[in-house]
Amino acid sequence: MPAFLLKRILLLIPSLIGVTVMVFVISHVVPADPVGIALGPEATQEQINAMREAWGLNQPLYVQYGIFLRNLVQGNLGYSLVSKRAVTEELGYYFPATFELTTASMILSILLGIFIGIVSAVYRNRLFDHLTRTYCVFGISMPVFWLGLLLLLLFYVKLGWLPGGGRIADGIQVERISGFLILDSLLTGNWEALGSALLHLVLPAFCLSSSFLATISRIARSSVLQVIREDYVRTARAKGVPEFLVMSKHVLRNSILPVITISGILYGQLLGGAVLTETIFSWPGMGRYVVRSILHLDFEPILGFTVLVAILYALANLMVDLLYSVVNPQIRLE
């Protein structure tokens, strides 16, 4: 296991280099000048040149990339041209919001998806299966921004049951320890903040999970259907094993691998931010941050974001591989 982990961590390095080179080159060859945009129309050529020099943008690309790598090794991801703040500080601000939203929606998708998949498979072609099949079409095809607005209209405007945006109610203060509101509320024993943070999470998490829930439930259903027909399941039933144990010990365990795989991929993808959901629900996450940086051609935040997402994606895949060996001990990690 330690050798496996070390190998995976070492493999991350060439992946990071490859990804950052690609993003670096693409962002620098796009025909736009972030300095000109930042300084506005009254900027003189002298000012533009001065700012380029101050930010190292007049250096050859390979020199700029070298400086970026050197700084990266020192944990310095540079500064935003727009906000003048350190990229590490900004990612530290936006990432917890994205992590909370993403994790909540994945938990919802996985738990509900597996449940729906199992029940749909067991009661296939019955009412429940038809309803969930209909939901899956809806969940995958409904644009997330449209669903988000409908959810706001119903639960926020019409029913008044849930808040309309943001991470926490105005006026509730939470001492910022980690930046993860739920964790910080728990650590400080601020139950009002915890309740408010959880309530604010409901609509955006559900909105974001809608298509993933559909995907996971369909995969779970077909996987369960496949396993449920296996001889060992029939044998277990014939031997009088309670149905609950048949499902949990034999069927679930053997059908969950595809769900783990797809969940890992989706989770890694989501950790890069969900700009549409964040926009609708005023969620200050990484999706909005990187879109703003792209529109301003703010190179260093774009690169910093890329590095972070690449690492998170690799970690998500590593987690999937580790879970494989937990769920199915026959799988060896090499």
Partner: protein, 532 residues
Amino acid sequence: MKLALPEWFKGVILPLAFGLILFGPGWSAAKTPDNELVVGSPSAIETMDPAQHMSIGSFKGENFVFNNIVGYAKESAKVVPELAESWTMSPDGKVITFKLRRGVKFQDGTPFNAAAVKFNWDRMLKANLSPAGKYKTYADENSVEVVDDYTVRFRQTDPTPVVLDYFAGGAKFYFNSPTYVQQYMKSDDPLALKWMATHACGTGPYELAEWEPDSKYVFKKFAGYWGGTPEVKPAPKFERITYKIVKDPSALRMMLEKGDIDVAEKLPADAIDQLSKTPGVKVKMADIWKMVFLIMNCQKAPFDNVKVRQAVSYAINYDELIKHVEKGRAKRLSGTMMEGFPGYDPNLFKYNLDLDKAKQLMKEAGLENGFKTTLLYSADRYMGFELMSVMIQSYLKKIGIDVSLQKMAWPTQVETMKKGAFEMALQTWTANYPDPVEQTFFFFHPETFGLRWNWSYWKNDRATTLIDGLMKEFDNGKRVAMIKEIQKLGVDNAVYGYFYQVPHAIAMRDNVEDVWFHPGVDWIPSPAYKKK
């Protein structure tokens, strides 16, 4: 398969669900506290530092926290005293001597005085960012001189008759407490740019209390505020102003209707239309100095032919554009001089829809069979361009011009236009002070080609001479005559497609009163209050 619903489901659950949805809590209008104003906007405040602000968006936060050396009276273009009680100008207009107001304190308790003015001037120029760029046209590092504790002399290197407008609206002249800034000046950041980007210590009616980037900014009333004047930033009535970032216009609208916010900015025209009829909400329309127009690259065939540009101008249905894009709420442009500017002439010739004339001009240009071209636009520059571009495409089709639409991110479009690698483009321009020089120099002078945002690339010796003269002319009568002649040249040569001046609409709860909105796109919140 027969779908059989259990009886209990049909009899109980379904009616309950429908009942709850239809007759449930319904519109439970939340209420913001009476002593707090909550503003929702899709635009984040980028920075609080007057030495670094890059766009009009930054002015929002600064307006709450700072005072200017001179200001605009309420919602007008009249320059009045603010931190300067009075001033005198030398006969040649080069030197202005300001007498500063006494008894004004910064939010850290230190006094505002001439040394603070000099400190902030020097810092801004050393930072050499966007604000410095604005001032360097007329001044340099020696321009500000401390005469005594409450007298400051400002010496222009290249005098402009609109220097006071420059202070009041153009570049603004705001002041942070030197004592506050100095404690954050470090060897790796000698001007404290990093700290001051998200912190402030001004003399204004509100202090910055919380900063959550791209999410929420909270300003609390400054107890030691000097009080302002009845015309400029009077004493604040709210204890707090919370500025929330809500990117999606539909979500923003819902929050306003529900009462979770008091004021919503930058809503699209169709939302404004509907909100004006919504109970509990009212809409304030404010004239702002923002124009929407079409750029035609006058150095690129066939737009180098004035007849082609005129043909395009006659092919546009301006009334329809205003009706559909702005829901009828915009005024036709008269050249580039907007209403409220010196030299504005509402009777200046305007192109109106005349397809016969347009076709005739195309024939005279030898292009009666039409041609293909491309129209660049950026929806992140202005939301209305999505619809406008399609409408223009259909208008020009009628005179044989086959337009391909090319949507771009704004930075990419700017770079493309700077290189002159385009034919037509849609653009907006917002002036935050009524300077006829800017409205001519940045539109018609060859010195501003490319880099400095004049993307018409139109060169006319007479217009150039007039603009050069306008920059130095202090006689108002002569200035107006020059402005009018420049505008006539610009219109006769159809340098741009002059569309319209777009108003600004702010929607708010109907208990919010006395919101000032200056045409330079400045929100002045301090006089506002809520009716009980």
